[in-house]
């Protein structure tokens, strides 16, 4: 299970860094991957509710021009505001509304269940404007091979989506940045915060204005118990990236840390 979670974490990074299209070029279609239903009945698999879609999203990101995963932050926020769980929110909200809020052209839903040692994953892709099912796919494999399963599913989805004019994506100016982000997030989600911190610091050493790296560094500090360091980074993050998609969450965390410090 740990291997699954680790693999999942490694891929989350891809979501954090959706490459932006070049100005003037036609943008690839966007896709929101909703959390999957855990049909195993085993709460130890709960991490995969977000992990599997994130993994598929990361794999889809390898198909530039086909689809661009979008952040779930806005929907997260709305669900939280309404004191709803993901499942509750999605079940109560029309897909078209979710699509509008997330500005996604497609929405992916799915579920996973277990058959012996094998994990079965089903994926459904809807077009938000029409709410029609565009495609569905199934995959199965050993739990330790979840990455391969997700990669297979991502390939199927990409092939099934309507062909779009391939958008020219900018070449990554620093490929190592992505790798470091994946590495950092991987360590973060596997609770190895002492290793997550160096990864994010290395990004910031090269790109001091990388808001995502700073946010995750702050989170890593916080989780590692280095709260004062987290406060420093959160403040710096909010100062330099006040409109970042993670800003609201950063403010909440900062408030919590500061309150904790005051109460001491």
């Amino acid at each position: 299970m740990r291997a699954v979670v680790t693999a999942l974490a490694l891929v989350l990074a891809a979501l954090a860094l959706p490459p932006a299209p070049v100005a003037g070029a036609s943008a690839p279609p966007t896709m929101l991957l909703l959390p999957f239903d855990n049909a195993t009945g085993d709460p130890t698999f709960a991490a995969l509710e977000r992990g599997v879609p994130d993994l598929i999203g990361a794999m889809l990101a390898r198909h530039p021009g086909q689809v661009r995963p979008v952040e779930r932050e806005r929907l997260d926020e709305i669900a939280r505001e309404r004191s709803l769980s993901w499942q509750q929110y999605v079940s109560q909200t029309p897909l078209s509304r979710i699509g509008t809020l997330s500005q996604a052209r497609y929405i992916t839903r799915g579920s996973f269940t277990r058959a012996g040692n094998r994990l079965l994953v089903q994926v459904l892709v809807y077009e938000t404007e029409t709410t029609r099912l565009v495609t569905s796919a199934q995959g199965a494999g050993d739990a330790a091979a979840l990455v391969a399963v997700c990669e297979d599913l991502a390939g199927k989805i990409a092939r099934a989506l309507p062909a779009e004019a391939a958008a020219a994506l900018p070449a990554d100016d620093d490929p190592e940045r992505s790798l470091l982000m994946i590495e950092g997030l991987g360590y973060f989600y596997s609770a190895q915060f002492n290793k997550a911190v160096p990864a994010f610091m290395k990004i910031l050493a090269r790109h001091p204005d990388d808001g995502s790296a700073r946010y995750w560094l702050a989170r890593s500090f916080s989780e590692a118990g280095l709260r004062q360091h987290a406060v420093i980074e959160l403040r710096a993050f909010l100062r330099s990236s006040p409109d970042h998609v993670k800003a609201a969450e950063a403010r909440r965390l900062l408030g919590k840390l500061e309150e904790g410090a005051r109460s001491k």
Binding site: N194, M201, A224
Partner: protein, 1246 residues
Amino acid sequence: MRRIGAPRLAFMLCAIAMIQVALAAPAVAGPKPAAEARATPTTVAVMPFVPRSGQGQAWLSKGLADLLIQDLAQVKSLVLVSREQAQVFARELQLGDSPLFGPETALRMGRVTKVDRVLYGHYALTGERIAITIFVLDMVRQEVIQREEVEGPLRDLRPLLQKLALQFTGRQGIELSETERAKIRFETTDSITATRHFYEGLHLYDQGRHADALGEFAAAAKQDPRYREAQLWMGKVFESLGSHEHALVTYRALYRDAPATVEGMDGLYFAGRVLEEQLKRRAEAIDAYQALAKLRPITPQVLEAAFRLGVLLAEEGRDRDAYLAFRVVDDFRERAQKDPTLVSQSRARASRFLAWPHALDLHRDAVVRMVVLYQRMTHAGAGVLPPTPRGVFLVTPERPVIGEPFGKTPALFPPRDDEGTTWRERHYAVVVPAGYVATGVEMSIRGRLVVAGPHFEYAIRVLDFPMPRDPFRSWLGVIYGQTPQLADLSKTISFNGDDKRVFTVQVFGGQAEIERWGLRVRLRRDTEQVRLEPAATPEEDGSFWEGRPAGRVVPPRRVVSGWTRPLTQSFRGPQKELALSDDGRGGYVLVTVEGELDGQPTDLWWSRSADGASWTEVARLPINSASEDYNPRLVRAEDGTLWLYWISTRRGLGWELWASSSREGRSWSDPQRVPLEQFVAPPASSSRPVSLGQRLAEQLPASVRDRWPVNQVAQQLEDRASSTAVAPARPITELLEYDVIQDRRGRWLVGFYSRDTREMVFIQSSDASQWTLLSRMRSDAVMGPALAEDRGGVFRLAALGQGESVYLWSSKDGATWRAKSVPIDSPYGTPTPVHRTYLFPLSTGEMLLLVSDTVMGLQYARFQPDGEAPKLDRVSRAALEAFAATPTRSGSYLVALRQSDEILIREYRAFNTTGVGVKKYERSWPIYVEEDRDRADNRWRRMSARARMIVPDVTSVGVEPNGRVWWGIESGIMAKTGEEFFATDVSQGFFYHYVTAIKGCGGIVWFTADHLDRAVVGYVRTGPGASFQPRFMTRSIPGASGAVTAAECGPNPGELYVGTSRGDVARVSAAAVPSRWSLEGAPRITALSVEPRTATVWVGTRDHGLFHIQGESARRVSAKADVLDREITALAVDSGGGLWVALYEKGLARKVGDQWTAFTPRNSSLPDWSIGQLAPGPGGGVWYIAHAEARSRGIGFFDGTRGRLDNPPHTILDRPSSIAVDARGHVWIGTWFDGLYELEPAGAKK
């Protein structure tokens, strides 16, 4: 007449004697205090451990060494090279992460770290058990002297290392106190996992992977929250990453959580440094330092914080608080000196970053800063002053006197006493009270030599405060005692208008006993309106003259007190400290060395100039190592690239040649080594350190010896003995002698001397990277080799050899050399070793040779390369300092000269004295003469005895009617008549060390000394030319009291009038003292003059005005108004019979008949207010020099109508001491530091 050189000219050799005193000092580090020597700790470097087999683990290699360092650092009799320092050295030794185990590497490490012992070892990890072995290499004996082994579970790593440390110290005979044992037993963590994370972190840190290191340190700290060291290192890593806020948070948290631990205190100190230096939050930095400085007991952290606190507070103008902060440092130093257990029994564990030696050494800077602050507070009238700093005398107008039996009063710095050389040295500071300035001092010292000889002396010396880098060449005044008889010596020196509020007194002696010393400080109210005339400027007509100052470069002054050079450094070995080159674009590049070979590591710094005049701020070159970098050479290559060659000890293999290039004149390439060892013939002898391997192997049990690596290493060392064996250890002053040029074909040519094989080796390269051998030439020692390619394409080499010879070799191809050696032909000699030699081809086909040594200074010669031997002669306006030279586009040469605290750039064309109208005496004459004319067509000659070129002082000057000129020098006198020269000193019976007046009175020359404690004069009967048989006599003056303070020739041949400090006047002849008068009120007589026609004697006093003696009567002269209401400083009767009176700060007064006229700059053309000495001109009027307490603006002349100042060309007459006019009207002027001048006014008799 005796010629110089025949007698033992100790008096002339005082400066050289200083050199010899220096040479008599211990071989390496100069005089070392006896107490210090007894307590000298053993210095130890610990190398990273290596696995005995298998891959090993990096964290263990680092960890074992570091843990051992941490344990041994708790032992006060050991000084450990820190892990960080060792890491830098190891990197430069190019050991890699897995250094070869063995004594060869350890030996190299020992050399670069300059330690007494090197500990190295290996470990074997078998499952969960570890076996550790260490070897102790003694650097003096160069052999392994100890081996220790421990074995046990890996989880017991800490106890195992502690056991090893105890075994090591036990076998070294070190008795550990309980405190030290407890500190060794202290465990920073008991978690092997945390330890592993920590040392993984250190390993990553060493590799520059700081972010990864942070993760490991964080993991270590999380594993064991009590592991403070891991937290401290997190702070260090944050700093390295530039995350200063994080570093600050880490340090503060560390102190908050563990204030009583060494890491907590380190943390607070580093918090202060981050706040001060990175975050620029000074107020918070002050708070941090204050909090730490208050902690007790005192620890290194407390001292470091107190020092920084003082610095910050002083910058904020909070003088009193700053003073008290520095006092913490100084007080503790004194207490620790009295009670060393304050340090040795300190309960605080040793910090890895802040150690006792550095913290204690801060006191030198602290003391200097305290004196500056104290002086500042004194003058600011800042209420009640804090206690006077140790070693500081605050004089008052009521009691301006200091005196003490030598060594009784605590000195500024710890005493320098050395039993071996009987060297004793103390420093004090004198602070002048508020509202006053010091204009000079009267110094006195009572002592004797225990061992007679020109190499020894005792002295009192006055210096600026803080002291200059080279106090041996830039003092304000000095008295030397050089006789075995107990003597009271005294002397007055004036600051010549450069008034002081604080100055340094240095009292020292070698092979001497000093009973007491004293000073009377001459104070003047600061609030008085001082009549300072505007400073004169040298005549500048834009014309060239030899030695014209072209620019100056100020080297970095890194610390306040650490600037002063050790005595040995000033005169010992060659100072190859400068390199100079044009940059190919009309500008120049200068490289200078900072640091001392015997002290701080030497580094190369550089400065650039677009025109040779304005130079950029001196900056450290990026190619420096942690070891010594020295002897730079700059060569501009044909493609415009600037190449820097220098020698470095960075690899621990002695001096090696390195190179770096700069294309843009901004950045420099990575240093690359010129592999000289590949071109040196294998030595015949096999006495190599290879035997180390054998000795090591012999010490091991057979079971170990049979296994890798020890026996293999021994074998490897054997195998490599002929190719890469470690060079024998040599004194660091035995520099690599080399030179490098690029020839016209673009080929690089390096010539270097191999001391091992006694040969000069020439190698070549087309790209300064791949080198091949050209030739090897057997030769005795070659010093300062200089290579050049002459106009005909022939390679030339010039160098100095042993036995006072000059090597002049030539080669058409660089491969085959024709050796030639000629005796040094120089009137001054050229003792080796030399600083540097340069060889330049001239357009005439001649070669220009420049050579400078440590005793005689810079000399030059122009010569036909295949013709006669070069005739060396001195270069004007250069002395003993390091130098470098480069040709300019205009055909002249720029010469950089290191003169104490700055580097002067001078321009020369011919190097032969001062240029226009050159006329010199014979080269064999012992007086060095420079001659030039000023714009008014006055002819000037400057003379200095070549043996006194270091300090060409003249204390007084007098002329005989026959034209013979006499002048006093420190401890003796000199004279010359035409081509004849004479000198003697107190060691040969001359009557006193310090002559203040010389009067040639027709057949007898009289000498007086105003600091004698009795009325006595010296004299010598003279005659014309060769009939001169000097026999020096003394004559007491019966009935007269006090010292002779004024003298003048009487109207009869051989007759002298003298005045004393207690108001007595006497007429003296060689046979008797026929007349004596006592002035009313017994005033101090300051001046005498005699009107020859009427035998009227005029007597000037300090505070009783003017007296007139005629016949038996002596009466005071009254004058109208306030004409004579000041101290009379000089008297003269001019050729018209008019009496001239010089008055302190009040110009001149003239009496003609009964008529008095006062002259000042305000009412006449008299140029100066304060006049010190007068001499009547043969054609009327008087010549004068400025008063000793006023700034000199030149030699003055005034006749009541016309007044003027004359100066030697291109300079202002500096600090004149005395004046005399001969029968031809030539004016002779003695100066305190610039030799003797002769002014031949335009139109004067030849």
